[in-house]
Structures are given as structure tokens and as C-alpha cells.
Amino acid sequence: MRTIIFRTIAPYLSALMVLFSIFVLLRGHNDPGGGFIGGLIAASALAIFGVACGVASVRRAIVFHPMGIAGFGLFIGALAGIVSFFKGQPFMTSQWWYVKLFGVEIPLSTPLIFDIGVYLVVVGAIGSIALALEEREAD
């Protein structure tokens, strides 16, 4: 599997895929996409990178343990739901803020934060399974 072409291209391909996954994640509220799909794309990116360049380099690249990323995703997902408590509303009532940045109005919301949580959970969990399965081949 580790042909020189694949090994050379894989880092760029993976980086592109991760970038694309973030794009998919952020557009999800209005167009096809969202945290789950984005997470799957990013997880495949990690898997491909791992197949090409070895699991050790993937682990170096993502700095945190993938399961830690998943746990963090779950944490901010739950946190996004708690925000509504401060307004005296039920758990997970969505909150919206409209921020003006360089003259462009950017809508921010708790569903977005929640979606990012979903994304991280999927990347972390699927990624860690894939990496753990690949690891044996490396050693």
C-alpha cells in the first residue's frame, strides 16, 4: 500500500480532506453537511494518512489522543445545551448571536457549537478505532 506516490500525496490529501470536512461542518445548517458527515470525512482523512505514513505520524499530527478529542466533543456538546439555563429556558433551547465582523454579519449559535461537538466526537471515536486497528501493521 505504501507506494511512494501515495506516501507523498497522502499528507496533502488528508489536509485537504480535513479542510473540506470543516467546510462541510460549517455549511451544515443550510446546505447538505453537518457535524456527523464532516466528522466521517475527517476520520477517513486520518485513516488514509495513517495507512500511508504510519500511525505514529498521525498521532503526532493531531497532538491529542483521539479519544480525548471525542470526550472533548461530548463535553462541549453538552455545554452548548446548558447555555439556555442562563436565560431560564429548557435544556438545549437554541441561542443565537449575530456578530458583525468586517461589515459581514456572522450568525453564531449553540446548535453550531453542538454540531462542532458532534464533529469532534465522530472524528475522535472513529479515528481512534481506525488508528488502533492500523497500529499492528506499523509494528
Partner: protein
């Protein structure tokens, strides 16, 4: 009369023992066995609280108090105080006071005494909650709590196998019966719409009118008979004598086993009086009475003798309750009172003898009267009451119950009277054996040098046995304050009772009493021969419910291990085949049974590229089937998946299609990785028959799912949900992508749950992989050790 609302004090009185249970271990650590004194204050106060009800209750009043527990289900923590519950509450708290004191003396220096006190108090609270329970559901909770706490108490000496077995047996029998009772209660609630006992009692015919009388009757009976050790469930009670004696004295004579009798008495206005009631109860009660007394005569162990007479007494009570006849019920109430007093006292006496002399076997005891004069006196008083001799309350009870049975009941009167006479005569034999044998006669050498126990030990027997005399001496007041109100509860209408200590004239009951006493004395002189006869008869019979219980348990265990061996054989293949087999059956069978398979729809006009995608999918499937190696098969399956994703895309589900693409890619990658790790051979070498069988299961699942989908799509489309989401996803959740809006906004909590599952699943998979990758040296070593040990054992 409708019950009056009272304040919450009575509710707290029910809960007070639980509070005492919480502090008991600490008190015991500080004061050692003397903690019994402060602890006994709790039941004493409860007793005082309930004496306050005696006067108004005897005037015909009743009370309820209630606190919401789970109001949306109509479950309240509520109490109902009337004659019956007052009598029981007084017995539980009054005898409980002395039991606590007695436990202080009996388990003096025991390292687990604090724990013991805790259990005892929890049991007391459960029992109080039971007899006062008004709400059927909370009543049931207390009912099962008595089973659980008695399990703890019987198994207190948990290092002994016999204790554990007895505890388990009691829990299985009474807990199982409790489930029947719960079913009965649920039926009552469903049929009548009422959940409070006081309301039900307000209209006595409410259950008989529903048409569900028989199932309710049988289910309630199941609970009551197991709890009160009626034949053939009598076997657990004598085994429960494995418990320390204070427990036996409390649970198995004075309170717990009476819970079943209480339930029958409580239900008597609602369920009683019918042909079923007046047939089943007397038969089983009478049988229990005879079996209990006969088995009691055979025993030589003091506690076991008393235990079997408890079984017998419960039988007598059930028999009398089953007559639904006023005089017989009056006899039952009196006997209940008498029995609680003398049995509590005699159990404590038996425990004291065991404690001080070191044995409970009456053949090894004798001449203790000078060494233990106070205990001897108490034993005599209690035994006289048990034997039914004047001037004791047992005598009055016997008179009244004979009065009730003889000549008043047309058909059953004869057999019931004969049963009662024989039972009471044998009871007299036991009473004499228990009270006379250990104390009179020449002094026998005992394992311990016998002497009088401390005040903690003899306070209870003395007070209870003197009460048995005292209550008889003030018979008129006893009848007015205790028996009358209780009888009113049983009859469902106000009744007054007039008791006399001495018989006013010579009548049938008096003659029956004399017959009983005469018969009892004759039998007592022949007790050794009697014992031998019973023993040989029992030997011939051999099998009994007690043995049956063991066989039942062993059978259940071997059955479950056999089932486990078949279903959980550790082979992934078996699991998967079973899962898919049952999935297939689940989707196919309903259509087959109801003959409602959907019609095949007409083939729509496909465009050429649609045909193309379909072709790719089918080709992918064929490739899976003909693939030479596993890797090819996995990749081919991916092709099929991609084709499906394309179909999703074409028919307007881009999100779904997108996800499908990713999932297919990842599953191909992960499956390939898993395969390399499992060290499977590259191709599949199953015999053709196995492959065909698996294929058949797969085809069945596929066919079933397709048919289900077809059936669903042929239903008219219900667009309410999609209309809602289309309408509001923009205005409420500010998003155009409805799928995503549903996932993260409308149904966000679902998604939160799902991602939690994903994280956990990830952790589990990770753990599984880790176990495989790093074979633990120490684990391997210990496995080898275990293997060696096994081999050694086999040799």
C-alpha cells in the same frame, strides 16, 4: 364512617425506625450492648403514639394521613389507621421494644451487633409501613421490604451455609408471592380505579362487582399464603430459625409471618364471604394447622418446635379468617393477640435457655428451674396461655373460636371444629414440652453452666407473659379496646365485643375445651412414642416441599447453564446467525401469519442512468458472492453501497447520500483492517451447506426487510411531521437544511445521547483491540496456574 385526615406525625412514626437503623451502628460502637436501652426508646415512643389511637378507634373512628410520593401515578405514602392496623402497630412497636432490649443482651459482645440493630429496625419500619399502608403501591413496597429485610436478618450469620440457604429460601418464597400480590393489586387498581385501601374499604362490594374477582382473589392469596407460610409453602419458616433468636422471636412469631394473615384480614371485607373464600382458606388453613402441629411434636429443638407451632397458629388464623363468620373472626383476633404475646415470650425464653445453657435440645435439658427462676416463671405463664388454660388470654381465645366454629357454620362447622380441637390439643402438648421439660425434672449437665440471664434478656418474656395474664383478667376492657375495633375492621361494619374471663354457663365451647385439654394431656404423656411414630411416617413419605425447593433451585441452575451453553457459546458466528435469524423471523412472520404481504408495485419507467446505477448495485452483490478472497468481497460490498448512495442522491437526499459514501468508505477500510488483525485465511473455507444456510438466513432478512419497506411505502404518507419541520426549521431554528436542523436543534437531546453512545462504543472497541495487541504476561501465567490447579483437582 369516612376516615378523618390527621397530621403527618403517624407518617413519621412509620419512618422513625429507619432513622433509628441509621444511628444504631454508631450508638452500638459507643455504648456496646447497652445501646439497646436508648434504641428501645424509639419503638416505645411509636407504641405510645399508637396508644393514642386506641380510644378513638374503639369509638368507631378511623384516620388517614398522606404525603404525595409519585403523584402522577397516584402513588402516595399514606397510612390508614383503624382497629386492625392499630392492633398490629401496637404489637409491632410494643413487642419490638422488648426485642430490641433482648437483642442487646442476646448478642452482647457480638462484633456485628450494630448491623444487627440496623436490620431489626429496618424490618420494624417495613412492618409498620405494611400494616398501616393505605396506598396499595406503597403498601406493596413495604411488603417486599419486609421480605428483603428478613432476608438480611435470617442470613445474618452469613458465614454459615445453612443460614444463607434459609435466607435465600425465605426471599424466594415470600418475594415470589409478593409479585403475585403486586399483580393482584394492579388488577384491583385497574378494575376499580381506586388505589387507596380506605376508599376500597368504603365500598366493600367494589371488587366482587368487577368480574375480576377470581384472579384478584388467587393473586392476593398467593402473596398471603407464601408470607404466612401456609401449606404447601410452610417449609421456609422453620428453616428461618437459622436466624439469631431475637429475629425468630420478632419476625417469625410476632410480626412478619403475620403479614399474610394481616393481608387476609384486611381483605376480608373486600374479598371475603364468597364461596371461594370460605372454601379455599379453611382447607389450606386447616391443613397447615395439622401439618404444623404434627411436625412440631416431632422436633426436639426448642426453636423448631416453636417455629412449627407458629406455622400451625397461622394456619388456625387463616382457617378462622376463611369462615367470614363473626364469632370465628372474633376468635381469630383474640388468638392473634394471644399468640403474639405467648409466642414472643416463649421464643425469648428458648433463646435465653440456649444462651445460658448452651443447647436448645429438650432431650439434653432439665432441672433449670432453680438456676433460672425468672425465666421459668415467664415460660410457665406463656405456656399456660399457649395451652389455652384459664385464666389466660389463650383460654378466652379458644373459647371464642370454638364458639364460632361449633354449631354456627352449617357445612364446614364439623370439620373445622375437629381440626381446631386436634390442633389445639397438640399445641398444648408442645406448650407443656417447652415449658416443663427444660425446667422440671432432675438437673441435667448442660454445655454451659446455666444461670439466670441479665435483665435485658428476661425483661421481654416477663412482660409479654404477664400481659397474657393481665389482658385476660381485664377481659371486658380488652374486648372493648382491642378486639372489638379489630373485628369491626374485619367485618366492615361496627361491632362490639363482650368478653368474659370465666365461662358463664356450660356450653359446647367449654366441653370442647375440656376435650382439648384431656386429649392434650393424654398425648403429652405419650410424647416420645408420638414422636417416633411421626418420624417413621415422615421417613416413609420422604419427599417434602423443603427438598422440593432444593430440587427446584438445582433444576433452575442447571437449566440456565444449559441454555447459556447453547446460546452464549462464545462464538461470534453463533451470535450473528441467531441475531439475523430472529430478525428475519420478526420481519417475515407477521406478514405470513396475517397473510398480509404487500402487493408488488408496478415497475416504474426508469431512465437509462437509473438502470445503470441499479446494474452497478446488482453487479456489486454478485461480485460479493463470487469473490475468491475476503478482501475482494469487502470491496465489492463497498461498490454496492456506493450505488445505493447514488440512488439516495438522485432521489433528493444529498445528506443521506453523503453520509452513505463516507460510511461505505470507512467500513471498507475498517473491515479490511479488522481482517488483517484477525489473522483469517484470505478466503472462506466453509462447507457449501454452511454457506447455503447462512445465505438462506441472509436472504430471509433481506426479503423480510424489503417486504416491510414495501408495505410501509404503500401506506398513505403521513406528512404531519415533515410539514411541521418544513414550516418551522427556517423560522425557529434559522436553518434551511431540515435534516441538520432536526439533528442539532429540534431533536438535539437525541443526538446528544447518540454521540454519547459513539464515544462509549469507541472506548469499548479500543479496549477490545488493546486486550488483543498486548497479551498480558501475568494473565497468561495465572491462566496456566489455574489450568494446573484444575488438573490437580481432577486427579
Amino acid at each position: 364512617m369516612t376516615p378523618a385526615m390527621i397530621d403527618d406525625t403517624t407518617l413519621y412514626a412509620v419512618l422513625a425506625p429507619f432513622a433509628a437503623a441509621a444511628v444504631a451502628p454508631f450508638l452500638t460502637r459507643w455504648f456496646k450492648h447497652n445501646a439497646a436501652w436508648p434504641l428501645a426508646i424509639v419503638p416505645a415512643l411509636i407504641f405510645l403514639h399508637f396508644t393514642g389511637f386506641v380510644e378513638p378507634v374503639s369509638q368507631g373512628e378511623s384516620f388517614v394521613a398522606s404525603k404525595a410520593w409519585a403523584p402522577s401515578y397516584g402513588v402516595n405514602f399514606s397510612v390508614y389507621v383503624d382497629g386492625l392496623s392499630t392492633l398490629f402497630a401496637l404489637l409491632i412497636s410494643g413487642i419490638g421494644t422488648f426485642i430490641i432490649l433482648y437483642a442487646g443482651g442476646y448478642l452482647k459482645g457480638h462484633p456485628q451487633q450494630g448491623r444487627f440493630f440496623s436490620f431489626l429496625f429496618m424490618f420494624m419500619g417495613a412492618m409498620l409501613g405494611l400494616v398501616l399502608g393505605n396506598n396499595l403501591i406503597s403498601l406493596f413496597i413495604f411488603w417486599e421490604l419486609t421480605s428483603v429485610t428478613s432476608f438480611l436478618l435470617i442470613g445474618f450469620d452469613h458465614l454459615r451455609a445453612a443460614s444463607r440457604r434459609a435466607a435465600l429460601q425465605a426471599l424466594v418464597v415470600t418475594g415470589g408471592g409478593g409479585l403475585a400480590l403486586l399483580a393482584g393489586f394492579i388488577l384491583i387498581i385497574a378494575a376499580t380505579g381506586e388505589i387507596e385501601m380506605s376508599v376500597l374499604l368504603g365500598s366493600p362490594d367494589i371488587i366482587k362487582d368487577t368480574g375480576l374477582y377470581l384472579p384478584i382473589f388467587l393473586l392476593v392469596l398467593g402473596g398471603a399464603f407464601t408470607k404466612s407460610a401456609q401449606f404447601p409453602f410452610h417449609f421456609w419458616l422453620p428453616n428461618a430459625m437459622e436466624a439469631p433468636t431475637p429475629v425468630s422471636a420478632y419476625l417469625h412469631s410476632a410480626t412478619m409471618v403475620k403479614a399474610g394473615v394481616y393481608m387476609l384480614m384486611r381483605m376480608q371485607p373486600l374479598l371475603g364471604g364468597t364461596p371461594e373464600w370460605t372454601t379455599v382458606l379453611p382447607i389450606f388453613g386447616g391443613l397447615t394447622l395439622l401439618v404444623g402441629t404434627i411436625l412440631a411434636v416431632r422436633q426436639t429443638d426448642l426453636k423448631l418446635m416453636l417455629a412449627y407451632t407458629t406455622v400451625a397458629s397461622l394456619g388456625l388464623l387463616v382457617m378462622l379468617t376463611g369462615t367470614s363468620h363473626e364469632k370465628a373472626l372474633e376468635g381469630a383476633v383474640l388468638y392473634l393477640l394471644a399468640h403474639s404475646l405467648f409466642k414472643g415470650a416463649l421464643f425469648m425464653v428458648a433463646g435465653t435457655i440456649d444462651h445460658e445453657a448452651g443447647t436448645r435440645d429438650i432431650t439434653k435439658l432439665g432441672g433449670l428451674r432453680s438456676a433460672m427462676p425468672i425465666t421459668f416463671a415467664a415460660a410457665c405463664l406463656a405456656a399456660l396461655s399457649m395451652a389455652g388454660l384459664p385464666p389466660f388470654i389463650g383460654f378466652i381465645a379458644k373459647e371464642v373460636l370454638y364458639y364460632g366454629t361449633s354449631g354456627w357454620l352449617e357445612f364446614w362447622g364439623g370439620p373445622i371444629t375437629v381440626t381446631a380441637v386436634v390442633g389445639n390439643a397438640l399445641m398444648l402438648v408442645i406448650a407443656a414440652a417447652v415449658a416443663i421439660k427444660p425446667f422440671l425434672g432432675p438437673k441435667v449437665g448442660t454445655p454451659k453452666h446455666a444461670h439466670e440471664g441479665p435483665v435485658l434478656l428476661f425483661a421481654g418474656p416477663v412482660v409479654l407473659s404477664v400481659l397474657g395474664l393481665g389482658l385476660a383478667l381485664i377481659a371486658h376492657t380488652t374486648g372493648e379496646l382491642f378486639v372489638g375495633p379489630t373485628l369491626s375492621s374485619l367485618m366492615g361494619e361496627p361491632k362490639s365485643v363482650e368478653l368474659h374471663l370465666w365461662p358463664t354457663k356450660i356450653n359446647a365451647p367449654l366441653i370442647l375445651s375440656l376435650v382439648t385439654i384431656g386429649l392434650g394431656i393424654v398425648l403429652f404423656t405419650q410424647i416420645d412414642r408420638l414422636r417416633a411414630i411421626i418420624a417413621s411416617v415422615l421417613e416413609v413419605i420422604g419427599w417434602g416441599p423443603d427438598k422440593g425447593f432444593d430440587q427446584f433451585v438445582a433444576g433452575t441452575v442447571s437449566l440456565s447453564s444449559r441454555v447459556t451453553r447453547v446460546l452464549q457459546n462464545g462464538k461470534m458466528q453463533t451470535y450473528m446467525v441467531l441475531i439475523f435469524l430472529f430478525t428475519g423471523l420478526a420481519v417475515l412472520l407477521p406478514g405470513y401469519l396475517t397473510n398480509s404481504f404487500p402487493a408488488m408495485p408496478k415497475m416504474p419507467e426508469y431512465r437509462f442512468y437509473e438502470w445503470g446505477i441499479l446494474l452497478i448495485a446488482v453487479l456489486g452483490l454478485i461480485a460479493v458472492l463470487v469473490a475468491k478472497t475476503r478482501l475482494t468481497a469487502i470491496v465489492s460490498l463497498g461498490i454496492q453501497g456506493f450505488a445505493v448512495a447514488l440512488i439516495f442522491m438522485m432521489f433528493g437526499a444529498p445528506d443521506l447520500s453523503f453520509t452513505q459514501f463516507m460510511v461505505e468508505t470507512l467500513s471498507v477500510v475498517i473491515l479490511a483492517l479488522v481482517m488483517t488483525r484477525l489473522n483469517l485465511s484470505p478466503s472462506d473455507h466453509r462447507p457449501l451447506s454452511a454457506a447455503l444456510a447462512t445465505g438462506l438466513v441472509a436472504a430471509a432478512v433481506g426479503l423480510g426487510l424489503s417486504l416491510t419497506l414495501l408495505a410501509i411505502t404503500q401506506q398513505p404518507f403521513d406528512s404531519r411531521l415533515s410539514d411541521f419541520f418544513t414550516e418551522f426549521s427556517r423560522s425557529i431554528a434559522h436553518g434551511r437544511n431540515i435534516v441538520n436542523v432536526i439533528l442539532v436543534d429540534f431533536r438535539g437531546i437525541d443526538t446528544l445521547g447518540e454521540i454519547t453512545v459513539v464515544v462509549l462504543a469507541g472506548l469499548c472497541v479500543l479496549a477490545l483491540i488493546r486486550v488483543r495487541t498486548k497479551p498480558d504476561k501475568t494473565a497468561e501465567a495465572s491462566e496456566q496456574d489455574a489450568l494446573k490447579a484444575q488438573q490437580a483437582e481432577a486427579r
